[in-house]
């Protein structure tokens, strides 16, 4: 159990928090530097995504879900944070290796800065979207304090998986190429554009293995329906968040020697 090493590593990362912060800011700015719409892209992307899906599933495949657009939007924002951060974090150690060569930062800073910069976009998009949801369903307003909690848990979960994937990608370069397909598959098995109820009961158990399911369900409950998510789901979210963080840090610390050489 590399608990001691993990704690040491967390301490080291904390000591470099400023570097983490500046890198994330730079990455955040760099994403939209030179573009015309600038940081409005933080919201335009998910909105466009939502429009397409809504069109397809109302005009083409009738799902019959009420307020389908918002239904989708509530899930699509966390999903896009997760998949975006993971996509950028996975190759980050290789892409930014010159930083590692120059400075003695802990290497976790790199994938974590990707996640953090996406988190910033994520948060910003909520600032625009939240008024829309609260106007649609005022019942969600008292549950607003839960939002930071779920945001943080999503953040932890994404950090964990990103750390894990960033190291595995060094050892198996294929991961960054597989990631696109993996995420697409993952998207389909996550109830973003459908609800759990729509799945026939025989198959429902399978969806519980998908760590993203409880997250999306929670989001929907909190932001769309204004209901407190049920205990099981909530515990699942907490569990997955910390488990993935633990796994991510362990792998990152233990496989460091072989990974660093392969960069």
């Amino acid at each position: 159990m590399p608990v001691k090493l993990i704690i040491k590593r967390i301490q080291k990362i904390y000591s470099y928090r400023r570097s983490l912060w500046s890198m994330s800011l730079k990455q955040f700015k760099a994403k939209y530097a030179g573009s015309v719409l600038g940081f409005f892209w933080v919201i335009i992307n998910p909105l466009l995504m939502m429009l397409v899906i809504t069109f397809v599933f109302t005009a083409v495949f009738k799902t019959g879900v009420k307020d389908f657009a918002l239904f989708v939007l509530s899930g699509i924002l966390p999903w896009m944070f997760f998949s975006g951060a993971l996509s950028e974090a996975t190759p980050s150690l290789l892409v930014q290796k010159s930083v590692l060569h120059q400075f003695s930062l802990p290497k976790e800073i790199l994938p974590l800065s990707s996640v953090l910069s996406y988190f910033m976009s994520f948060l910003m998009s909520w600032c625009i979207v939240y008024p829309v949801f609260s106007f649609h369903n005022p019942k969600i307003i008292p549950l607003t304090p839960l939002l930071p909690v779920i945001f943080l848990l999503t953040y932890f979960f994404t950090c964990g998986i990103s750390l894990l994937f960033s190291v595995i990608n060094i050892l198996f370069r294929d991961l960054e190429h597989l990631l696109g397909i993996l995420l697409m598959f993952w998207f389909w098995v996550t109830p973003v554009f459908y609800s759990i109820e729509m799945i026939p009961p025989e198959f429902r158990w399978a969806f519980n293995f998908n760590p993203m399911s409880p997250f999306i369900i929670c989001y929907r409950e909190i932001i769309l329906y204004g209901r407190i998510p049920d205990v099981g789901t909530f515990l699942g979210v907490i569990g997955w968040a910390f488990f993935s963080l633990f796994i991510g840090l362990s792998v990152s610390v233990c496989l460091e020697s072989s990974a660093l050489k392969r960069i």
């Binding site: 890198m23 730079k26 010159s98 930083v99 060569h101 400075f103 020697s257 660093l260 050489k261």
Partner: protein, 904 residues
């Protein structure tokens, strides 16, 4: 607490090699067992050839890598210039990157603001500071990078070789800045190839090679050591043993004692000449392999189709064994090889074996190398005494030739003024006694360089004792299958000296190619055993110096398996000062000219027991070789070819049947005794016996007799002799019999000759009957039944006789034609036995007339007048009888004749 501590660090890279589409992973060890530590404020330089692990050490210090084995403890913040462009975000401007890098390094906003302008001023890249760094040139990158790095004020500052990218002005600036950093107590580590920079900035330097630390010490010493090892990397190897370290660098060896170079450029090397052109070992292309302090280096001289192979082994007691082998693809005439050890001129005293002296000072006018001492004979050991000098102690150094190799001449020399030094040199001459027109490989030098030996004299005499036996006058030196003889320190043998050879498996094997071991049975007896392992043959020599001036040399062979040895021989080369050779029957002069091949002077194998060489001036003693006829030994005497310019005594052992198979066991081959005598002058005369009458002299010479008038010889070559033919073979009185004079007075000589291969003997009586009249009588005594089908009595006269007469018939002898006369031509023959046959001279020569007549007639005798062949160049008067006769034991009358020598 050291700021950096490496403890037995090993670092490995796993690299994927892709060959023809197939990928294989291989381990590459970049660092092997590196240990060192640095205190705060030290400046360290790291040098080494490309790929020796320098950048890997820096990466370990920067925290980019973790050691695979061992520990690397760094306690301080690290910054530096490691990779060009590292840490820069291409899209951001220079200014923005300054901020980014500072933040990444961990500086706070305030600190960044303080230094930010200083960094821009230092970088001096003008307006480009506001352009995205993706459009920077390499020079701009390095300026900005260095400016940033140096203003980070890290505790440990690393510089990899990237500084070289900047221009000279920038490099100077950086050096000044780094110097300031060092002065301010920060720790600096620099990797560079620029020795000048290193000297300025670092007090301490590490030299890496192949991932291992070769030297760690003062920059000046390590840098000089590094430049010793600069060269084509395949040809460089370094071996270190406590105080001695040795660098082999492409055909030269450099020796360092306690960190200082004791050899002077070029160091230890070889030179040789082929067809008048000189070559040095530094001109070849070298490839060296090292394992456990043993080096095997191969130097190829491509345009000569020749390779020189050095085997060097360094032992813990500072002994450097050095063997040089030559491999040629064609037949090369290598005349001399010099093995040179060039030392610094701090050495003042030399010694050669037991002589010693001082090197004179090298002056400006000395433009060439000067030989200080030269010993004519072979030397065992040349060297220099230890010396205290300004830069430290120079240790004693011996340059020895191994006793198991042909001993060459040793010299000590002073070099020229431009490159002053002292040279210890061996000149070795590789012998090719059997010129071979095929690829060959032979060892041409085997020796050792011994450093720092105590008691020198003791050592040298111990070495000499092992393979030299001597008494007051005589010294014998055994050297790997060759024996050299010295009388009063004058060499009696030369060129190939004395050696053995045998013929098996269709080629000759000489004793110098065997593997020899020596043993001294006593102070006078040396036993040498030579092994030819692949043939399963060993040859044992027993060399015994007897009291006085003789020694014996016995050679035996032992076969371990069945082997067919067709011939065996012993060969002894003597100097050309020997002008005469003699045997029991013959005494002759050697020709003064030497031809391309050896010339056999005793045209028939003489298997009698003694042969000798004489120097008429008396400067060399007379040498007699006694050998055993029991073992079937034959002697030959040669004048050698013009490479050796020597006189050759050659002892041959021929087996009774061809293709004799030696089954496993021991065999005696040669038993010889050499006797030296300075004063033997009467010996030769004793062999002859002379009777004289007025001015006509007859000399009996063991089975042959010569006539002289007024000192001039009338007869020629074999002169007076008898010949008998039995079973198809001729037996001559001068070669097939052993003679003893039984009676001599002033008028007659009686001698008895015992034939060696026929069971008979002849008794001769030569007497002066009257003025100019000689009688020659021969009696035959037969011991066992023998069949003899031809009996002859001959006198061969000088070719100056040109006319012959028999009664009224006369004729002329034709001149000898060089290309035709290979046979003896009978010019006249007659049955009548009472005629007188005579020869008349050519009037120019003023020779007397010579006549031969039978005293006692024998109807079976023919008279013949014969012109010999062009080799003998004589006119023969012969009485012969060709009746087939079986002789039963008894006495017979053979011949009785009268010879008249009268003036006209």
């Amino acid at each position: 607490m050291p700021i950096i501590k490496f403890n037995d660090v090993w670092e490995m890279y796993r690299i994927k090699f892709i060959i023809e589409g197939k990928a294989s992973w291989q381990n590459f060890w970049a660092l092997r067992g590196i240990s060192f530590s640095m205190e705060r404020g030290e400046s360290l330089g790291i040098i080494g050839e490309n790929g020796s692990g320098k950048s890997t050490i820096l990466k370990l210090i920067a925290g980019m890598l973790n050691p695979d084995r061992g520990q690397a403890n760094i306690s301080g913040s690290v910054s530096g210039l490691l990779e060009l462009g590292a840490g820069f975000q291409a899209e951001l401007t220079g200014r923005e990157n300054i901020f980014l890098q500072s933040e990444l390094f961990g500086l706070s906003r305030d600190e960044i603001n303080k230094r930010y302008q200083q960094i821009i001023d230092f970088a001096e890249i003008g307006k480009f500071i506001d352009a995205p760094v993706k459009c920077y040139s390499q020079g701009m990158f390095v300026r900005l990078a260095f400016a940033i790095a140096i203003h980070m004020e890290p505790e440990i500052f690393l510089i990899d070789d990237t500084l070289a990218v900047g221009d000279e002005y920038f490099q100077k600036k950086c050096i000044k800045e780094i110097f300031k950093v060092g002065e301010s107590g920060k720790t600096v580590i620099i990797v560079t190839h620029d020795m000048a920079m290193l000297q300025k900035l670092c007090k301490r330097t590490i030299f890496l090679k192949n991932g291992m630390m070769i030297k760690d010490g003062e920059t000046a010493k390590v840098a000089s050591f590094y430049s010793q090892a600069v060269g084509s990397p395949k040809g460089i190897a370094i071996v270190a043993r406590k105080q001695l370290s040795l660098v082999f660098n492409n055909g030269r060896l450099l020796l360092n004692w306690e960190g200082k170079l004791i050899t002077s450029f070029p160091g230890v090397y070889t030179t040789f000449g082929i067809s008048g052109v000189w070559y040095s070992s530094t001109q070849a292309e070298w490839d060296v392999e090292e394992s456990n302090g043993k080096l095997v280096a191969t130097g190829k001289f491509y345009h000569l189709a020749l390779s020189q192979i050095w085997r060097i082994e360094v032992s813990d007691n500072y002994e450097i064994k050095w063997d040089i082998e030559i491999e040629t693809e064609t037949d090369i005439q290598l005349h001399q090889i010099y093995a040179n050890v060039m030392l610094v001129d701090g050495y003042k005293q030399w010694f050669v074996d037991s002589e010693q002296g001082e090197f004179p000072v090298i002056k400006e006018e000395d433009k060439n190398w000067k030989s200080i001492f030269f010993k004519n004979g072979p030397s065992v050991c040349i060297g220099v005494y230890p010396q205290e000098s300004a830069s430290g102690k120079l240790p004693a150094l011996f340059f020895e030739q191994s006793r198991l190799r042909y001993l060459g001449q040793g010299t000590v020399l002073n070099s020229d003024y431009l490159n002053p030094g002292r040279i210890l040199q061996y000149k070795t001459i590789p012998i090719s006694s059997n010129p071979i027109n095929q690829p060959s490989r032979f060892i041409c030098f085997s020796g050792a360089i011994k450093v720092n030996i105590a008691d020198i004299h003791d050592y040298v005499s111990k070495i000499q004792n092992e393979f030299i036996i001597s008494n007051k006058k005589l010294k014998l030196i055994f050297d790997n299958g060759r024996l050299s003889v010295f009388f009063d320190n004058i060499p009696l043998t030369k060129a190939g000296h004395m050696y053995s050879a045998f013929f098996t498996k269709q080629r000759w094997f000489t004793s110098d190619l065997a593997r020899w071991t020596l043993e001294k049975e006593s102070d006078n007896i040396l036993i040498a055993r030579g092994n030819w392992d692949d043939l399963g043959i060993s040859q044992t020599w027993r060399i015994n110096i007897c009291n006085g001036l003789s020694f014996t040399w016995d050679v035996d062979i032992e076969a371990k398996r069945d082997i067919a040895i067709e011939h065996q021989r012993l060969r002894c080369f003597f100097p050309a000062d020997f002008k005469l050779f003699f045997s029991k029957f013959v005494s002759e002069k050697f020709s003064d000219t030497f031809n391309d091949t050896e010339v056999d002077l005793l045209q028939r194998c003489v298997s009698t027991g003694e042969v000798g060489l004489r120097d008429p001036t008396g400067s060399l003693p007379q040498v007699s070789l006694f050998f055993s006829e029991k073992l079937g030994n034959f002697i030959k005497v040669f004048n050698s070819d013009h490479y050796s310019k020597a006189r050759l005594l050659h002892l041959e052992k021929v087996e009774p049947e061809i293709n004799v198979m030696f089954s496993p066991g021991k065999y005696e081959c040669f038993r010889t005794r050499f006797v030296l005598d300075r004063n033997k002058t009467t010996d030769i005369d004793k062999l002859n016996n002379i009777i004289e009458d007025k001015n006509i002299r007859f000399v009996f010479n063991k089975g042959s007799g010569r006539f002289y008038k007024n000192g001039e010889e009338l007869t020629k070559n074999i002169a007076l002799y008898t010949s008998m033919r039995s079973k198809g073979r001729w037996h001559d009185s001068f070669s097939s019999a052993s003679w003893k004079i039984i009676y001599k007075d002033s008028q007659q000589i009686k001698a008895v000759g015992k034939w060696l291969q026929l069971p008979l003997s002849q008794e001769w009586e030569i007497a002066i009957k009257d003025d100019g009249l000689f009688e020659w009588m021969v009696r035959l005594e037969v011991e066992k039944e023998i069949e003899v089908d031809c009996l002859q009595s001959n006198i061969m006269f000088s070719e100056r006789f040109s006319q012959w007469l028999v009664d009224k018939e006369e004729g002329f002898f034709p001149e000898f034609a060089d290309d035709v006369d290979d046979n003896w031509d009978c010019l006249w023959s007659g049955k009548k036995d009472d005629r007188i046959i005579s020869l008349r001279e050519n009037p120019i020569y003023n020779l007397p007339r010579v006549s031969l007549s039978l005293k006692k007639s024998n109807p079976q005798w023919h008279l013949k007048i014969i012109n010999s062949d062009r080799y003998h160049r004589g006119r023969i008067l012969q009485y012969s009888s060709s009746a087939q006769t079986n002789f039963s034991p008894g006495k017979y009358h053979y011949f009785s004749g009268l010879l008249t020598i009268q003036d006209k």
